[in-house]
Symmetry: C3
Subunit: 312 residues, 3 copies
């Protein structure tokens, strides 16, 4: 998320109870988890294995749990538990604000947009013009919706990222401070769930259409004019380029990319990146024609076995 206005790094160091080293004049403009960092951001690292990655990332300020050499133009914030202090800052910058009614006074709703009874619109939500939001859809704080978007009943947009750190005594949740951004002319079915970014934005591109019960994880970025059939599930930090079609019940693992124009047949499971303009099938997924050939061969196994027994 972006800070508005930016904060001096010395102020952030005090908020985090951290020892500040490096460039003490930095102006902090955002906070982001390592997968999504940009210049001006605070991020955190708590395991020596990832120190180099964090120090070399675009982040300007790094919460870290050991002394380290500070790269030129960056600042380090030395703390005992970087995850905890990062979380504390995220909560400080974007605290949970309970609502006292269904439509927040701080929401902005465009001309001609219709809200059916029982819709919940959180704080600082922005909705464009010409939209229809059906009954009991829930838009968490800071969600942004373009023009001419239809959201069907009981869909939830902007619930927290499923992002936990394993501690000895159980899981500790990372506080979500990102948003969901929906483009123009998007249609979202009933009972869909789109999680907010843990620190960045979950994005659904203009013209994309989601059927019912589709799930989209945190910080996932979906292109334009995609088509996802019912019960598709997409994990966090996925990139789906334009014009991708996912048929029913397809599952997509985190941290991968599906190329422009790819088509994935029903119930497929995607665990690594796929190039575009190709049709895929299977769990784990393969190029569809190869998978079909394989299935045909498997059907010949009984004959093959018999052949082996009689001829070998």
């Amino acid at each position: 998320m972006k800070l508005n206005p930016p904060l001096p790094v010395s102020r952030v160091a005090r908020l985090a109870g951290a020892k500040l080293s490096g460039d003490k004049t930095i102006s902090v403009t955002g906070i982001n988890e390592i997968h999504k960092v940009e210049k001006g951001d605070i991020t955190f690292v708590d395991h020596p294995k990832y120190y180099e990655r964090a120090l070399k990332s675009a982040a300007s300020v790094i919460l870290i749990n050991n002394e380290a050499e500070c790269p030129e133009g960056k600042a380090l914030l030395l703390v005992k538990d970087p995850f905890r202090e990062y979380n504390r800052l995220a909560r400080y910058f974007r605290p949970f604000m309970p609502a006292d009614k269904h439509i927040s006074a701080s929401a902005s709703i465009g001309e001609g947009t219709m809200l059916q009874p029982g819709v919940f619109i959180g704080n600082h939500v922005k909705i464009g013009s010409g939209c229809v939001i059906h009954s009991h859809a829930v838009l968490y704080d800071y969600t942004e919706i373009g023009d001419n978007v239809t959201i069907h009943a009981n869909t939830v947009i902007g619930s927290d990222a499923f992002y936990f750190k394993r501690r000895e005594r159980g899981y500790e949740k990372m506080h979500s401070c990102g948003r969901v951004i929906i483009g123009d002319n998007v249609e979202i079915g009933s009972c869909c769930t789109i999680d907010r970014g843990v620190s960045s934005d979950t994005i659904v591109g203009s013209g994309t259409k989601l059927d019912n019960q589709v799930h989209i994880g945190h910080d996932t970025v979906i292109g334009k004019n995609c088509l996802f059939a019912a019960q598709v599930g997409i994990a966090g930090v996925v990139t789906i380029e334009d014009d991708v079609i996912l048929w029913g019940q397809v599952g997509v693992q985190k941290d991968l990319t599906i190329g422009k124009g790819a088509v994935v047949l029903g119930q497929s499971g995607i665990a690594k990146s796929l190039k575009g303009d190709t049709t895929y099938f299977g769990s784990p997924v393969r190029e569809a024609r190869e998978k079909m050939k394989e299935l045909a061969l498997i059907k010949q196994l009984p004959q093959l076995m018999q052949k082996l027994e009689t001829e070998v």
Copy 2:
């Protein structure tokens, strides 16, 4: 959908800005997408490949984008963009009517039916007697529910069909004017979604039981006394006959039939029609015993490979 009262075809031609040819005395009694047309209906066709199918269909009036010979007893409506004009007519006949409260004044609700807090009942909805509708269930306009039906919380009945036409610049939605019709003694779990027909009706037969998070697509027709376990997903324009059992997470593709008494085991994927009274498994689905044999053979592959290497 049916028109009540019927309209003279000349009136429809004026509404569509169409050139009328053929039988100009036809009384139009309905509007339907080509998969579901009946006598008296308007339908549309916009690609020469499908002209013959449309002209030979049961439809009485065809929106078409080229001059064609009009079959006896039918009328043609020549327009530049049949899909757009069809859509315009569908919206004209069944416009979206925003609701101003949770229970529409035009809904009829039978004796002894209980609505829990927050239920949304759209315009012209009909609910029989002895039903229980749990919190925040949403029944879109024109939905019809029989007697002694239980609908659990946050289920959505009658949201729009997932039906889009690909245009050069993105997808154009077909306006849904069909309904959902639920029989008697049906139980529907929580967070289910049942889409309305795009032009005809989505039907759930009497005595059928759906577990939670089941999805049923537009214009699908389900028989009596079926049992669908949680997270089953059924596409549009499917026919499922009586007494079919689908176990958890089964997926069913569009435009196919599952015969009476078929049983489909969990996570199976159905891409073609299945005959009844048989048990199936797998994705793609096969007769369950065959699939089990195949799985057993696959487990023998390592030995087979070894045998080949040593003996051949």
Copy 3:
């Protein structure tokens, strides 16, 4: 479920219109379906095949449809239709109570717990302190939630068990009288569904985290610090021990156990019990490394076929 106060068995016999034999001094302390019976419980049996199991179970009182020898310290209730009489008793002990507002006056809600607009809290629900319940979540009657629990929007907790008896003329529903019990520090995503026990309790252990659109069936018991990704579906009467991780879209069949620390990869299907501390994959599921080897072998099938044709 437990009866408070207990009832003399003679009173229960009159309620069920049953002929009482055996120990007529028993005090009935609960009612339970056969999978979950404890001492003091009423249960039922209606098929000779299961008589012995019921008579030897922990139940103190058995509704039965034939004369049978009554074991020491138990009582038999002879009725024509044990399922029907059991159901009648369950409904008598725990009738459906319609709500007249979103938050029941009989619910207890702990300090610092925040309810967002539109949350439904049924009768006799108990919620601990420090919880956040998001918009339109639905908690059916008797649900119990621990401390510091987050429940996201449109999730449903406590809807009826999917449990039906096939009769000649259709399915007859077993009336659910069990509860859902959620421990401390649990996080539940959006549009999840957790069914109440049919007679016992569905339990989610402390520290467990559920992503969006997770389904958990009736009487299932989940341990501590488990992690279930989006769209996981778990049937009824399952036991999942502590520290189990199920990735997205995993399906779990009824009546089985998953051992402590097991990890199940995405889209796997589990049809029999799994031992702990092992990673699994596939549908049907196998130990993950074995499954991966098998997939690699299958990829070699084309070569194998060729080899056979040329060399044999």
